[in-house]
Amino acid sequence: MRYLTTRKRAEGLGSARAGTEHHLAMTASGWALLVLVPILVFVLARTIGGSFDEVRATFANPFVAILTALFLVIGMRHFAKGAQTAIEDYAHGATRAALIMVANAAAYLTIAAGLYALIKLAI
């Protein structure tokens, strides 16, 4: 007889082969975005359409820069994980794997490009 509880036997065998990790990650990042997004929406509403110098000055502001950096990292990871769930619902096999890679690549590219721009504007 093996000492395996019913729970241990079922762990990781959900349809996504994962437990509550995804749900918790989306919930935690959702709470962070709930704070960051409204601030950034209004900052952007006031900045988009501005001149070259105005836009640079806005994002050189430490407060705006740090919140934007947080948004990029948290928001784009949230997007990649969310997109993965959606992709897993509709695509299968190699298409699924390719689309998940595309979503992750888009997320990381956005993070890297955004952080580079913020650093360049800060210094």
Binding site: M1, R2, L4, R9, L13, T27, G30, W31, L33, L34, V37, P38, V41, F42, L44, A45, R46, I48, G49, F52, V55, R56, F59, T68, L72, G75, M76, F79, G82, A83, A86, A106, T110, A113, G114, Y116, A117, L118, K120, L121
Partner: protein, 131 residues
């Protein structure tokens, strides 16, 4: 005892349309997914614009031309609605996760609150952008 048996379990079909009358709850939930995915367009454009601002005045002029064109405005008004709608959808998730508002009348009201709330917040955002 510990072996897992291979079982044929029923897979759920795609319900909406063939088997399911569209409902406030199902449609408002699908819109959370669509808005969450669509937001990548506006975010991508915004990061391109930010990158251009960091690189040079010429690049900024190019990207800003797109951003301030009618297409750019369409993307931003759409993104404003999408982000507010998705945010309210997230709040509804948190309410449901707390075990509240799951009865049909309340769930339907929450769906309508997301629709009305997102439109109101979008109008406020446009006003803030253009004053």
């Amino acid at each position: 005892m510990a072996e897992t048996k291979e079982q044929k379990r029923p897979l759920s079909p795609f319900m909406i349309g063939p088997y399911y009358r569209p409902q406030m709850t199902s449609i408002s939930s699908i819109l959370v997914r669509i808005t969450g995915l669509a937001l990548v367009v506006g975010i991508g454009l915004t990061v391109a614009w930010l990158l251009a601002a960091a690189v040079s005045e010429e690049w900024f002029a190019r990207v800003d031309w797109v951003v301030t064109s009618w297409l750019g405005k369409l993307v931003y008004v759409g993104s404003a609605w999408a982000v507010w709608y998705h945010l309210l959808g997230g709040v509804r998730h948190f309410i449901f996760d707390a075990g509240r508002g799951m009865d049909s009348p309340t769930a339907e009201k929450l769906g309508w609150a997301m629709v009305v709330g997102s439109v109101v917040l979008t109008v406020i955002t446009i006003l803030v952008a253009s004053w």
